[in-house]
Symmetry: D2
């Protein structure tokens, strides 16, 4: 259950550590050491303090800390040392549903990575789709150890920032970026298109499509809320589907069968913290789309 920053600032050390314990995987000592720097003026200040605790450790301590993180696993085993956070994150990225071949590849890469770097492969999976995790893994396996050590700590910074936001509540929380939004305009009538169903699907390299969000446009031609908001958009390919058929049938007199019905728009998300505003301007015989703002 989330606690407020005010409550957190007022806690004793035991409560404080219990509240923040798993923000850093299997490392309650991070919260314990940051405790003395209370009170924290904001969630960002707290996160900075926690990150500085990690950065102040000796190389040996840091390696042990990194080794407290789990391997990236496809198929969880009964004895899996995943925290609840890790399990939820890996499931969100689709790592709970990979093929045997993919699991074998991960297993091989996990072993090679540990052999080369001396700690497990750590990645903020909430910023990735399955395809980009595999691509990142391959890319990072080839790196120099010192570069990769910094990359691992950066990923832990990202992971812990996102965990902190789900751990805390109330004022003072940092804004989490990442947004997919849209807007439908019927250019043949000069008006927003209301009542149009919209879907957002995540595409995989193998061609599958998984529904991420769906909505109906309101009187201003927009979903009432962004399709994705205040969370990283997992890197990867997406398809927006605009179901214009209903709009034409109801609002636009056509002399024959419609030329357009479901309009698919495929796009790549490369910046998980970006704002992907992707409008559709259409008529019964044309449409245009773009990355807007």
């Amino acid at each position: 259950m989330p606690v407020s920053l005010a409550d957190l600032n007022a806690m004793d050390r035991t409560g404080f550590v219990a509240a923040l314990g798993e923000v850093f995987e299997h490392a309650p000592w991070v919260a314990k050491a940051a405790y003395v720097r209370r009170p924290f003026a904001s969630g960002s200040a707290l996160h900075n303090a926690l990150v500085e605790v990690v950065a102040a450790q000796t190389p040996g301590q840091i390696t042990r800390f990194l080794n407290g993180h789990p391997d990236l696993v496809g198929r969880p085993s009964p004895g899996s040392p995943l925290t609840a956070h890790s399990a939820a994150e890996q499931k969100g990225a689709g790592l709970d549903a990979i093929t045997a071949a993919e699991a074998a590849r991960l297993s091989l890469w996990n072993r090679r990575y540990r052999e080369k770097f001396g700690f497990p492969f750590i990645i903020c999976v909430r910023r990735h789709g399955k395809d980009s995790i595999f691509a990142e893994f391959e890319r990072r396996l080839a790196r120099q150890p010192d570069v990769e050590l910094r990359a691992a700590l950066d990923e832990i910074g990202r992971i812990s920032a996102l965990r902190l936001v789900t751990t805390l509540c109330g004022p003072g929380m940092p804004k989490v970026y990442g947004k997919v939004s849209t807007h439908l305009l019927d250019n043949s009538r000069g008006l927003p298109a209301a009542g149009v169903p919209v879907q957002l699907l995540a595409l995989s390299a193998e061609g599958s499509a998984q529904l991420v969000a769906e909505a109906i446009t309101n009187h201003d031609g927009r979903p009432d809320a962004p399709l994705i908001d205040a969370r990283p958009i997992p890197i990867g390919w997406y398809e927006l589907r605009f179901f214009l058929g209903r709009h034409f049938a109801r609002d636009v007199p056509l002399s024959g069968p419609p030329f357009l019905d479901m309009v698919p728009v495929r796009f790549n998300v490369a910046e998980p913290e970006g704002h992907y505003h992707i409008p559709l301007l259409f008529t019964p015989w044309s449409y245009s789309t773009y990355r807007g703002s």
Copy 2:
């Protein structure tokens, strides 16, 4: 083997009838009766003469003529009375690959149709996809007999016109309409996009997609030839796929991964004899498409 109009005009009656025999299904008497009206100035004049022979028959003769046409069959049987024309046409419309349930539906409808109208369901299948054939069949089953009789003769006019064009060659042939073309412009550079692969797929109501044509754009941003040309476009839904990824990788310096790769454009063909010119104007971050001319 196609013959020229000049050769046809010079033939004796036997040769003339042999050459045109199956333009009207199992009805060489149509060509035989038109023979006396030689010479024909054009393919259209010849077709008009043939159609007028049919129209001049008594109602009883017309019913017998219609009954010379085969049922619309999904799965050909060894004893099938299909002419080579019919077999090729039905295969083109995908009627050689329907499910058992669809075959059963066709069988039921064929029986109902014959019971109601006294002749088999006749449709120019080269103007239709499987979905539109089923839709037409259902629609026409509900009609008044006199309306449907005229519809059947209209379809025979369309079938025979298309067969005539494959039967004849050389000058004087009527133009056969029906065209799908495209044009790719890179608006970020003000230039046509050359070397871009383009595919045209026919979509079925069940979600399958069948490749109809593919091409690479030339220096003017167009396939060297239209994707479909000089034949009816079977009524139905299509998807154009523009593979922009290669263009961006080769011709446009991007600072990161591309926002767009394969751009799909879905559209409906309602006029088989129409020209569907569907350009794509694009930049690395936007595109628009429309029915052009």
Copy 3:
């Protein structure tokens, strides 16, 4: 000097009438009669009360009231009975700068209108440009008297609502509609175009263009404030001018002289209380614009 609704509610009758006196042209009795209905919960409630006072008058009183309004005059005369409100409004519509021929036409129409209807031509000039005032005048001159009487009272309702908003201040004021806004997106880079000068000009039928507003786009590609906001947009033709040359010179590497520099967009405002959002999506070689939302 504007007064708040709270202050107005607390005034005695003399102060109340002084504060609202010229909201209705030369008719302080309207405010006087509405005084008893204090306190007013909102500006709209106050306006409704004032309008109901007018509506409750006898036909003779209403005619006298209408006759308290000035003729629409091009060139003000020293003895002109214009209130400060009227003078400012007529100047805003460009009626202080008309040609002798136009003044003569107005003079003739004023006389014909009074002869036909028994009161002067009344129009909410803040909702019109010079061209639309002439067009309206001509149109209304041709009307039936009872229709035109209602039209005159409607115009007085619009005039007094706008005057009330400038007379009052603070909370409880009704929103005044009418907005012209824009948004610049550089589709070749997938980003808003910042630092681009934008002008809005009002066009006259004779071809002249008068600057109405200008702004520079901010980091989101928009002027910091709408070009017109919270006031009626005078009916008529406008031109937006987007000065893209500076943007290309600064932000977009071009291999030669720019294809586009100042992009003009001409449009007609028919709904003075409407929101005309008119974005420009552009690349160095293309642009599109539309009425958005």
Copy 4:
């Protein structure tokens, strides 16, 4: 009167020189020397031969040849040594109608140029508007003599190629490039817009606009002929004007006054031999335009 290449090849030297005499300004000896290389297989072969005669001269002869060209003059004087070609060309570029201040500037620059380079400023005026001639003049005045000598000969090559095309007729003539074309599509109806008046105007830096061409779109939404074709487009700024009002009034049912009427599109021509295809895709509430192909 133009002669054919065949006739030219058959002429004696006197006739040959008379026919081609003024293709090179005041230099019949160029044609005279090229005569021996007859017959010419094409207009391009002939032009190459003529240019090679010039290139084979000594530096002193070339300087004398260049000095046979007239100054660029705004206001023709009675004793002006302009050939008919030169007079027509300079008039086409608007040099017959410049202000006294511009004439004074030209006069000053002409003197400076002769002093610096030893020959007059030579430019193919058919490839320029008045503004670009002034810009070129200023730019070239600042150059090194050897660079500028080559530039002068290049310009003579361009001038003579264009003169040759007007001097000859019949087959074998080189194609002269330079085209402005357009295409109107009503995207709200998915059809070309026929019967729409289109104008092309040349804009000057001072804001004046001169009509260059006008046309009405045909059933395919295009003028029957390009607005400019087979001649260089003078470098400079242009405005296309699309008069959509009539189209909306006649072909598109609108519920109120049109949002768009005359749509202006301003663009710069930097490549006189280029093809500027500038379509307009529009609806009653939107439009887009681009450099196409």
